[in-house]
């Protein structure tokens, strides 16, 4: 393994899905399943918390928002086992830093929706701090 290879994923890691659409957050701060549906893309992008300080995590989130460009509203935190229990895989990538793809999604939309609902049911929303 070269020094650029990402570390293997462990079951107890936490992953962040950055939220750039206000409509993905309900009034009670829970998350809508749309935040986790990759369709029409094959994979879902997430950022691994591992090895990152909170400020570094938000910096990555802001970079994600800036590339669109979009407003960063917060992040959805979800554990690795909440993803893998849905028969999905998490594939870390060398770049960008701490990035991973959630792969193995079924191709049809209803199947993706029900998986996204299961993930949303256990995901935790963290609002973006006032100053990042």
């Amino acid at each position: 393994m070269s020094t650029n290879d990402p570390s293997p994923i462990s079951d107890h890691e936490v992953l962040a899905r950055f939220i750039t659409q206000r409509n993905h957050i309900r009034g009670d701060n829970s998350l809508k399943p749309n935040a986790f549906i990759p369709h029409p893309w094959p994979n879902l992008s997430v950022t691994r918390h591992i090895g990152l300080a909170e400020a570094e995590l938000w910096k990555i989130g802001q970079e994600v928002a800036n590339t669109r460009p979009a407003t960063l509203y917060g992040r959805a935190d979800v554990t690795v086992d909440a993803i893998t229990s849905q028969s999905l895989n998490i594939v870390p990538t060398a770049t960008p830093r701490n990035h991973a793809n959630v792969t193995g999604w079924p191709p049809d939309k209803p199947s993706q929706k029900i998986i996204a609902q299961e993930i949303a049911a256990v995901a935790f929303f963290v609002a973006v701090p006032n100053a990042i």
Binding site: H24, K32, N34, R68, P69, I114, A121
Partner: protein, 174 residues
């Protein structure tokens, strides 16, 4: 009591559209539709459906151009908006209003949410396909139904399981 019976009758009358053709049938259908619209304007009977319709228009407008999410999203087409509006119109009176969203493939989403494990999401395509997924306690239901002018029974049943109709419950209690 009389008010309760009247409201019950209105709810029953206003629960299904007609497929009849012919001049008289069309006149009756038009009158029926106008009656429904007036009942909808009552927040109590419409339960916020008009608010949902306003939200639908706003979301469709905001997401009407390509790349509205900055990540290559398809625009919400006029056909999709029309299908979603017709779906809202076809909901029986007394049904709780959904919240509205848009998806990167240009579909519109209607969501009935009570709690993380009592939740229903319906995606509406421009062709009128209704892709639905629901968590109800430990059970999960998902699939696709066509929208042919009436809300499919499968989806109506799921709405009632996720969010029981408060209007009817209130009337039964009266």
């Amino acid at each position: 009591m009389i008010l309760g019976m009247t409201a019950s009758a209105l709810l029953a009358l206003a629960s299904a559209p007609t497929r009849a053709s012919g001049e008289t049938a069309q006149y009756i259908a038009a009158q029926f539709g106008e009656g429904r619209r007036r009942l909808r304007s009552s927040y109590f009977l419409g339960l916020g459906i008009q608010t949902a319709a306003d939200e639908l228009l706003r979301v469709a407008d905001e997401c009407g151009t390509a790349n509205w999410d900055g990540y290559g999203a398809a625009p919400v087409k006029q056909d999709t908006y029309c299908q979603a509006q017709c779906f809202l119109d076809a909901l029986p009176l007394g049904i709780s209003a959904p919240s509205i969203g848009a998806e990167p493939d240009g579909h519109l989403t209607l969501e009935w949410h009570h709690s993380p494990r009592r939740t229903l999401s319906v995606s509406i395509s421009p062709e009128g396909d209704l892709h639905y997924a629901a968590l109800v306690g430990p059970s999960k239901m998902y699939g696709t139904e066509p929208f042919l002018g009436e809300v499919p029974k499968t989806i109506l049943d799921l709405i009632n399981r996720v969010k029981p109709e408060p209007t009817k419950m209130a009337l039964l209690a009266a």
